[in-house]
Symmetry: C2
Subunit: 292 residues, 2 copies
């Protein structure tokens, strides 16, 4: 059975030692692991964190955070180098915490959250960017090979990146990268970018290392329009045995002028829909094996 986890941003944006009590709370809700943002230096003592995770019997997966200053795709060597150093650092953090996966938009190239508008790219620049990115990912993968940590590249929707927004785009990158590097797929992005989520999952196949089960609107799992029965069957169809994270941290609002895309802390106790979300997903996965 796949392990199911919850992203730390469900509760706080910057996770620190003062939040260790969340580990047992998350475990109590039925989650098997926490998806932590890769801590920035000074945010967390890694051995203390590992001990607190073990005390709560909670696993961990890491989510990388790129920006324009750590960008494998960049035309600037300093930004590329920082991107590579950051991925190596993220791998080291994972190894220190006992995490086996570092996932996210590892290629860099953020758009809206970096205040960049999409702009056309020439074919020469596209190919150069592809080479730069593959080179950086291979250097990070080489570093990861010394540990059990694996890198998972996540396509983001068209507004969050201009590098890899669908499975096809990510696969063109992975063709040039060491096979230890795999895919992270998120149904929030897929519901915007793929003609068919199940078909995209089947296409990822054995390259899928990590999965994020998010609704089309990023609210609580089971409250949107993603067809979870079909998703569970597709994951079962490719014999996916990796982790699955929930990130339902979008506090929707009906009020004009509240930016939906800006992260906001929880404004109510969310335990019930979170608990129901784990049960819904785990039962969907179980039933997928009995389909007929």
């Amino acid at each position: 059975m796949n392990l199911v986890g919850l992203v730390s941003m469900q509760f706080v944006r910057v996770f620190r030692a003062e939040h260790f009590a969340l580990f047992s709370r998350i475990r109590g809700l039925g989650f098997d692991f926490i998806e932590l943002l890769v801590p920035e230096p000074g945010d967390l003592d890694l051995s203390d964190t590992r001990k607190a995770l073990a005390d709560a019997d909670l696993g961990v997966v890491l989510a990388a955070r790129v920006n324009l200053q750590r960008n494998l795709c960049s035309t600037e060597a300093a930004s590329r180098q920082s991107g590579i150093e950051y991925l190596k650092y993220a791998v080291d953090c994972a190894a220190a915490l006992g995490a086996e996966i570092v996932g996210g938009p590892l290629y860099g190239s953020p758009l809206v959250y970096a205040g960049r508008a999409p702009a056309p790219v020439s074919e020469d620049e596209r190919m150069a960017r592809l080479e730069r990115c593959a080179t950086g990912l291979n250097l990070a993968a080489e570093h990861a090979a010394a540990s059990r940590v694996r890198l998972a590249v996540e396509p983001l929707n068209r507004f969050e990146t201009d590098a890899a927004s669908n499975v096809g785009q990510a696969l063109e990158l992975l063709e040039r990268v060491h096979p230890s590097v795999g895919l992270l797929l998120d149904t929030f992005h897929m519901s915007m970018e793929e003609a068919s989520i199940p078909a995209a999952i089947r296409r990822a196949g054995s390259r899928l290392l990590h999965f994020q089960a998010n609704e089309n609107h990023r609210g609580f799992l089971g409250t949107g329009s993603v067809n979870w029965v079909e998703v569970a069957r597709a994951l079962d169809g490719i014999a996916y045995s990796g982790p699955i994270s929930l990130e339902p941290f979008c506090r929707r609002t009906e009020r004009f002028g509240v930016p939906v895309a800006a992260w906001r802390p929880p404004d109510e106790n969310e335990d019930e829909p979170l608990r129901a979300g784990v049960q819904f997903l785990k039962s969907s996965l179980a039933l997928a094996k009995h389909r007929r």
Copy 2:
């Protein structure tokens, strides 16, 4: 039966007299009207355009184009004033062309295409923004009342605006605005922001003035994951008799590094899927009346 149209950006970004031949081509594909971007001064002679439309027996709806310098929500009076002037100008263009609707994100407040990142908004600022926007819309609506032109406010997804991203947000604005102003709903944005597209359509009800039938990935209608049977039934359920536009101008690519959100001109003849799209939509609407 609803009139079905095609957006001018299917072919060109800036529509000029040299493109008038597209009118009969679009008519020949089975469309009843063209959705033209509001021409910037100098782009088009309006009476020539009206004559060319009539010659091709093609109707027209206008799509407004806001930016940070014409922004009803702005804290800067000059930007708000330009936003109001622009909407009045758009209404005048519509009247000159024989269009009855000016739709779009009339409130302003663009994000990703203006290179802005989403940021939190205080409740005081949110309420002030709501008032500023309603004031501007009412002034534009007053101007429109002298003609048959109506304004239709379109919620855009969370990455394209931080003002109104779902039906609920738009309705809070419309509560403060003259009832002649209505809604424009686009299934591309709805598939990201609404828990249920049919429920959102029913909620819009009689305030719906214009509709855009776009796939989740903005490719050709019928090639994505929007449930068009349910959409057609919901539109029939609210007795929607207004226009419906197609905007399948997203040229998808499987190649790493091609920005999906950047507009690109067509790279092949798209007549067949466009023609099939009109037929698919019109037949879905017809069949919705025979559901049982």
